[in-house]
Amino acid sequence: MEAINNQELRVVELSCRYNKHWVFRNVSFTVKPGEIVGIVGPSGSGKTTLACCLVGVIPKKIKAEVSGKIYVDGRDLSEIPFEKSIKILNMVLQSYDMQIFGLTVREDLLFTLENIEHDGEEIKRRLNRILKSFGLEKYVDYEVSELSGGLRQRLALASTILMNPKYIVLDDPTANLDWRGVKELANILTELKKNKHGVIIMGRRLKGFESIVDKVIYLNRSNTQNNSIMNSQNLPNDTVERNICEPVIQFRDVWFKYKRDFVLKNISLDIYRGESVTLMGLNGSGKTTLAKLINGLLIPVKGVVRVLGIDTKTSSPARMSRYVGFVFQDPDKHIILDTVWDEVTFIARNLGLSFDYAEEALKLLKLENLRNEAPYCLSMGEKVRLSIASTLASNPEILIFDEPTTGQDEETLVTISLLIKKLKSKNKTSIIITHDSDFALEVSDRVIVMADGVIVADGSPKEILFNNKLLEEYGLEPPSILLSKTLEVG
């Protein structure tokens, strides 16, 4: 056995279980200062549990059965008090918003600093230094709610770095980031690497970090190592085929604003029956707002939105749900009833429809054996399928998927991808909002790019996603196939 007094984080045969079932078993790896290690796995593979074990939250704060050892610079982690270990090894949570305590950027950083530093002058000096190194100077008096997702994550990371931990664990840091946010995070991680911090990144994939990650550990439900970061892809056609006779969605000179500024500006757009359209663009570019105008959740300030000939201004969103299904991002937020069957048939009961489509949706999404189960007890993948089934139960003509790839495992992604293709074969229209260009290539036959409330590009996936200028200008994620070619050339 190797000596264990090296300057490194060493995980030896680590296993963890909450009750009967092991979350993961016999995981071993090392992280040296100045090294970035990626741990990749689907949802449910135990990434968050592993992260909690690494920083000692499990078993010191959350009870679970843990076997194996974690050594930090030669010391057994279990023997270091938690208050001390978090100064050596800390973590940025997946829901990084929860790690921000202040109402402004300054206040949040001071919140941490006041806890670790007693000299007022030293606090000011360290505050200025961290603001500069994380590029947060101009946001210092911004309220947290005014910051973009990328900036909020940067703030959470900056607050964690203030504690000066040698090793940092990031739990699925890219889940809610657009491509520009991912690249900014990669730059910050490069700096941490230079400053000899050991970094562990947990995630479903490591796209955007290929050039900075030193090694990758694969974690899956059976803990065998057979996943791949890069997806293989079939290149789509380079032209958009449209059923030009029948636009099912029409936007005519549509303007929309929530409070002060317009978030959609003079949008005119036709979406045709049977199309699979992907909406792409940076966070805040207006994608979700556009989708909410389709099912009537929002009403345009100026202009007209017609869905299947119905002016959305004249119909309530509840009535529009007969024609437009909306699959929201986080299924946990939308589960309301006690059983899978009640949940799936909820829409049919509200609209006075028969349960035939609900039965069909259960079968299609392989949930028929779970019909009497409580939705809260399902796995994340099953909850996503339940969310889709409960939308399909009204047999809508148009289905909108909001960020369907966020935090999902490969199996669920394949299910969603097959479903979209099946809907297309039935001449139904799908609208997908995503940052994931690989998924867009897989499922869509048209890509619309939005920036600052306007449509800046509209074309086939190949025209859009293989156009380096467009990708660069609008911060779109390049397809893996393009990235791998760039890496080979590099």
Partner: protein, 237 residues
């Protein structure tokens, strides 16, 4: 000219005006108080003054008519004539002072200011920390509430349809997922606090210092309240 006072002073000043509005029983004094409130508003932000006047004037007109012509129907009616112009004017001016001050309070005092004020008045740090985190997460809960409502509506469910009892029942469908969400968030928040190694005794040690102007304004506020109590309640002078 722009009013540059600390948030603690601002809160104390506004609360003093509201307290004085309820102590004063003289129309002229109330009028001065109301003008002071509107002047502070103009000094802080002229746009706010315009917005406030737009909202407040219809309310004042209704208040004036009600207190002047229909005061005999009030549960606080203690005799006198049916129509009382002085009483109507008095109540309207009092309302204008309270409304203007509340408007300034809501528009300009940020949650962070309130927390600083709580710390300044030496309230228990634990209570202030909880208040701070509550303010910080109000928008999280509000976002969750909006998302759940949108999801229900997108499933053909009309929350605001039917009788009052039916509507209340409808909202129970929002409460369940919202509660689940809040519990999950609370768990994450406590984990995040553990990871940051928060010690309550260290929270908010470096609160801001008061300037000479702050002390002057605070002193005037206290003197005015003491003077008003002595004059109106105890009968001195």
């Amino acid at each position: 000219m722009k009013l540059e006072i600390s948030c603690v002073t601002k809160i104390l000043l506004l609360l003093s005006i509201i307290i004085l509005a309820f102590i004063c029983r003289d129309l002229l004094h109330l009028l001065i108080l109301s003008l002071t409130a509107f002047s502070i508003m103009a000094l802080l932000n002229r746009g706010m003054l315009f917005n406030c006047v737009k909202i407040v004037i219809p309310m004042l007109i209704v208040a004036f008519i009600t207190w002047t012509l229909f005061r005999s129907y009030s549960i606080f009616y203690a005799g006198g004539g049916d129509v009382d112009w002085y009483f109507g004017s008095f109540m309207t001016v009092r309302l204008s002072a309270v409304l203007a001050t509340s408007f300034i309070l809501v528009s300009t005092v940020k949650p962070l200011d309130l927390i600083k004020a709580l710390l300044f008045f030496k309230l228990p740090r634990k209570a202030v920390l909880v208040a701070g985190l509550t303010f910080r997460h109000i928008h999280t809960v509000a976002n969750d509430y909006r998302t759940i409502k949108e999801a229900l509506t997108s499933k053909g469910f009309e929350l605001d349809k039917g009788s009052l009892i039916k509507r209340i029942k409808n909202y129970s469908l929002v409460i369940v997922p919202l509660l689940v969400r809040c519990i999950e968030n609370a768990e994450k928040l406590s984990l995040a606090l553990e990871l940051r190694g928060i010690k309550i005794e260290n929270y908010g040690r470096f609160s801001e210092k008061l300037s000479g102007l702050d002390i002057l304004v605070m002193t005037i506020c206290v003197i005015c309240i003491v003077f008003a109590i002595l004059y109106y309640w105890i009968g001195v002078f």
